[in-house]
């Protein structure tokens, strides 16, 4: 016991100036969410957070695809039926027509049950929390996309060099 009350150090110097850059390079539903979840948590911790979308990650900010990302377990041997952890789903089944729609629906339901927002709403929350969204110049050129094709919250289409400049001193994650 001391005379001074013991108070959590919410705004201590150790975390001041902390910065995180997440490179989102995948457009599958299951690979899109980790970056969004980590970004959201980082912002809630007062960490300056930037998301840089590149290659297939463009589907997360392309207006035509962002609300409709899909999940397939083709090539993913860690796919088990709920609770059946000793048994991997046969890979051949994943290749059947219509299977991606089924597995996407299953994953979306599991996410909704946990109140995890969909990609467009997640990006909205990240922006409202002070996060920054950037699109990769080369990916935009490859896919023949310009700013009007992208989610309004994207601050700009920038080069890898620009991204590295804004990442100075940041912790970086490549997903």
């Amino acid at each position: 016991m001391t005379d001074q009350p013991f108070v959590p150090s919410f705004d201590d110097d150790a975390s001041a100036g902390r910065k995180l850059v997440i490179i989102c390079s995948k457009g599958n539903l299951d690979m899109a969410l980790p970056g969004l979840i980590i970004a959201n948590s980082a912002l809630g911790e007062g960490i300056e957070t930037h998301l840089f979308f590149t290659f297939w990650g463009f589907d997360m900010i392309n207006k035509k695809t962002m609300g409709n990302l899909k999940f397939s377990y083709l090539g993913n041997t860690a796919m088990h039926l709920p609770g059946q952890f000793g048994f991997s789903m046969p890979q051949g089944l994943a290749a059947l027509p219509g299977m991606t729609a089924v597995t996407t629906k299953m994953m979306n339901k599991q996410l909704a049950d946990l109140d995890v927002p969909g990609v467009p709403e997640f990006l909205e929350i990240i922006l409202a929390s002070g996060g920054h969204l950037w699109a990769c110049k080369m990916s935009a050129d490859m896919a023949n996309l310009t700013e009007p094709d992208l989610y309004e919250g994207v601050e700009g289409i920038i080069s890898a060099t620009d991204m590295l400049e804004l990442a100075e001193g940041a912790q970086m994650l490549f997903i």
Binding site: M1, P8, F10, S41, G44, E45, D115, A128, S129
Partner: protein, 104 residues
């Protein structure tokens, strides 16, 4: 568990300084806790704190920012304005609750 005295109340806290017994919390204490982290409570703050308290009673765990936002119909941006920097931790601290465990 260590104890600390806040505004004349002796309370149990964990190693970070969060109250460990939600039952030791009172509204007066909430005002004092907020003052200690530089927040002057308005009606809008109190609505959030009261939601957190009642939701904790019902669910047995502290609501995440997402849950506060969807259940109360409050924009996330406003929560960042009310409790700047680390909103989820700050609001649960003021409400005398553990910090939220959920990821989203």
């Amino acid at each position: 568990m260590p104890t600390t005295t806040i505004a004349g109340h002796e309370v149990e806290v964990n190693e970070e300084g969060f109250l460990t017994k939600p039952s030791q919390w009172t509204e007066d204490l909430g005002t004092a806790l907020a003052g200690l982290i530089g927040i002057e409570l308005t009606d809008d703050h109190w609505k959030v704190i009261k939601f957190l308290r009642s939701d904790y009673d019902a669910m047995g765990e502290t609501a995440t920012l997402r849950r506060v936002s969807t259940q109360m119909g409050l924009p996330v941006k406003q929560l960042f304005t009310l409790f700047p920097g680390k909103p989820a931790k700050k609001m649960s601290y003021v409400a005398g609750l553990p910090k939220p465990k959920g990821c989203v």
